[in-house]
Amino acid sequence: MDTQNINLLEGREKQVYEKTAGGAEIEIACDKTSLSGSVSQRACVFCGSRVVLYPVADAIHIVHGPIGCAAYTWDIRGAVSSGPELHRLSFSTDLQEMDVIYGGEKKLYKSLVELIDQYQPNAAFIYSTCIIGLIGDDIDAVCKKVAKEKGIPVLPVHSEGFKGTKKDGYKAACHALMKLIGQGSTEGISKYSINILGEFNLAGEAWIIREYYEKMGIEVVATMTGDGRIDDIRRSHGATLNVVQCSGSMTTLAKDMEEKYGIPYIRVSYFGFEDMSKSLYDVAQHFPDRPDIMEKAKEIVRDEIRKYYPEMQKFKAALTGKKAAIYVGGAFKTFSLIKALRTIGMSVVLAGSQTGNKQDYKNLKEMCDEGTVIVDDSNPVELSKFVLEKEADLLIGGVKERPIAFKLGVGFCDHNHERKIPLAGFIGMYYFAKEVYESVMSPVWQFAPRKGGLR
């Protein structure tokens, strides 16, 4: 099948939009599960909760179900820890046929006890997978019992794969975290304090962000969930402000905390000079009685941009006029990426997300140039089609998109799981530009058929 001459999947027309002059209003049908039979790039509820909670490093994470769900999420991305690394081990109840018939509660109970005795963790998260939802194990009861016996929080995460989309998994994760919050003492927490939400410390990104805020004189109570610690999360309701980066995953928690503890929240992004600076200013503005915080923020922005700006010009000179296609998880990340790409002279010809909502897509339309294609929950056929039609030089995506980009002969940047170097913060923008430059300018493309190599 030639993917270049293919029509859109029937039933998907409403999830694809091309911005044209005087074109129709954008009405993208999002929040849908993928069409039965489609080659979707999406995952499930369990995936959502697992990726969000997994970086809490001093807890054990047990996947209750057959082995696969645990195996595929074992150290799925490099969420690094400054201390314990319990989160990077893979614990599973490895349900067998008999367990499915007779129920897995006993096995879960024994596994939990064995693990807690072994590791003395500060908490345990129990993820229920598809099968648990069907066989009806009462994991809440098991968790309650073990929590009582062992004296640590044992938190059920209801993340049966079929019960919605990845976003529902985020919600399940937030609910589990919410049970921890409020359990610790808030004594001694400064009035000038924040929680960092939706930062997963891939390649140490949370450390970069945390350092900026601390330099500004702000106390960071908890980072949720990158390099996360149970005790910090338990007292995080003592912070003055919640700063949410990954809006898709953590807005629910921010809203719940606002409602229950009166802590306001703001949405930020740490990608690109523009959004990173704004993230610092927005937080500083929240503390108007301390002008020194804003002063310090300005100083950081000035110093950091001065440090990286000259290098960036080299990349920009080479990349100006090149085109990028974006297909990532969260829509908010897409906004930042569009701005960041503009900083290095690149335009965006395709902007897509797996989990955007209606408002996100409206915003995307505002931001994009004419001719840009906007998609929700895309598939490889569409992606290839648009990348070729729009003559993109770069694809930004996740694991499954990488080899597609390379087959098509265009550069690639992973903005999801397989990150070895941080892309957040000012230094992250430098790394991003460097990575994009190196991939787009790689000499290998001269050998690719599309760019004139041997056919």
Binding site: M1, G65, V100, G161, V381, K451
Partner: protein, 459 residues
């Protein structure tokens, strides 16, 4: 020091699996299905399964891996997934236009009791399968077996659902590939071609999962066994099954359905297993072993002899999948090494029996498979009795680093290196490659830890 959390004391665990040395059935079925030309694997369950399997295969092969999903929702999980599968079949044929859809089940669809055979029949009765196109299926619940059994089930499905017996036998030999790399499948075909043996290899992922750069995204790359070839397997004069766990069930199915006698061999990894394969193929084809193959074997033995001092008595820990572990253990013994700790997450009586035979030469070895035979146990064993070499998939890197053991990547998945899908591990050239890899890491380690005054040019 990720695994500093591993205690030395080994305690029997009742429920828990830690750091599994296996994964679940559907991914095996997906991999096998990719070895049919023009086939779209289809995952009958929720989106996550399909997504994880595609990600893992993508990471291992560095190739686009296509597969569709029934996208189960809560409704499907209550009322059954028949409607989803029927809708899927229609969507897939009209949009992605494959030759074959290979459906596999998941723990979800199995538990709610979806009957793939009945649903596929309904799809056919309702005219949802275009003429000349096919839908095959395999039942692959995740709570039984492992990715290896899933592979075996889908390959068996190919044999059962495609093979036709016309009553006239041909000179063709079926070779049922156990779970091996595209490069291995290519090597098997190359050996058969050198021997002038007429074979059909299935499944065959070469030219599918090691496709060239073309500037296009080919949904169905040129490789894979064709439907005609699969149909013809019923008339073949015999089958050779390469692997008693992942390949033999398909050979048995062919024998049952079309009376094709079969012989089960170890996967041809290392010297002895390759010898047996070459002899069996030569006998089945009625062709002598060509001089070029004999010479290649001679070179392997020559290198083994040249290097025997570096292998002798070295302790090895290995983990992985049955059909690879068995001949690999034998090869290590042939090299004079001591396979000391062996773990495989895949359960199976055939496997245990064969390992017992092989390990008669290594009565000291710790061997365990099935439940709780995981990498945590392997690490504990290594802590109690250290080894000189570790062989296994990418996840072994944690143990190798923590214990400072030379490490050879082998098996599935390998996420952090290339080569495994391009260079064979089977046949004599595969044996040579394994020797090179093992020797390379052993000597690198020797150089790395040598005291200044003992660091030498010639080793």
């Amino acid at each position: 020091m990720l695994l500093r959390h591993t205690p030395t004391e080994v305690k029997e665990r009742e429920g828990l699996t830690i750091n599994p040395a296996k994964t679940c059935q559907p991914i095996g079925a997906m991999y096998a299905a990719l070895g049919i030309h023009g086939c779209l694997p289809h995952s009958h369950g929720s989106q996550g399964c399909c997504s994880y399997h595609r990600s893992t295969l993508t990471r291992h092969y560095k190739e686009p891996v296509m597969a569709s999903t029934s996208s189960f929702t809560e409704g499907a999980s209550v009322f059954g997934g028949q409607a989803n599968l029927l809708a899927s079949i229609e969507t897939i044929f009209s949009v992605y236009d494959p030759e074959v859809i290979a459906v596999h089940s998941t723990c979800l669809s199995e538990t709610i009791g979806d009957d793939l055979q009945q649903i596929t029949k309904k799809a056919s009765d309702d005219g949802k399968i275009p003429d000349g196109k096919y839908v095959i299926y395999a039942s692959t619940p995740s709570f039984v077996g492992s990715h290896i059994t899933g592979y075996a089930n889908m390959v068996t499905g190919m044999a059962e659902q495609f093979a036709v017996s016309t009553g006239e036998k041909t000179e063709q030999i079926n070779i049922v590939a156990g779970w091996m790399e595209p490069s291995d499948m290519r090597e098997i075909k190359s050996i058969a071609s050198l021997m002038d043996a007429k074979i059909v290899l299935f499944p065959d992922t070469s030219d599918v999962l090691d496709a060239p750069q073309t500037g296009k995204h080919e949904f169905y790359p040129k490789g894979g066994v064709t439907i005609d070839q699969l149909r013809s397997t019923g008339d073949s004069k015999c089958s050779l099954a390469l692997g008693c766990v992942s390949a033999e069930p398909a050979a048995i199915a062919l024998d049952k359905k079309c009376k094709v006698p079969f012989e089960t061999l170890d996967m041809p990894i290392g010297l002895s297993a390759t010898d047996r394969f070459i002899m069996a193929l030569s006998k089945a084809a009625g062709k002598p072993v060509p001089a070029s193959i004999t010479a290649e074997r001679g070179r392997v033995v020559d290198v083994m002899a040249d290097m025997e001092q570096y292998f002798y008595g070295k302790k090895v820990a290995l983990f992985g999948d049955p059909d690879q572990i068995m001949p690999l253990t034998e090869f290590l013994l042939d090299l004079g090494m001591r396979p000391t700790h062996i773990v495989s997450g895949t359960p199976g009586l055939r496997f245990e029996k064969r390992m017992k035979e092989i390990l008669e030469r290594a009565p000291y070895a710790n061997f365990r498979n099935g439940a709780q035979a995981d990498m945590f146990l392997l690490h504990q064993w290594i802590k109690n009795e250290p080894v000189d070499l570790l062989i296994g998939n990418t996840y072994g890197k944690y143990i190798a680093r923590d214990e400072n053991i030379p490490f050879v990547r082998f098996g599935f998945p390998i996420l952090d290196r290339v080569g495994h899908s391009y260079f064979p591990s089977v046949g004599y050239s595969g044996a040579m490659r394994l020797i090179e890899k093992i020797l390379g890491v052993l000597m690198d380690q020797q150089d790395r830890v040598a005291l200044e005054e003992k660091f030498e040019l010639v080793m």
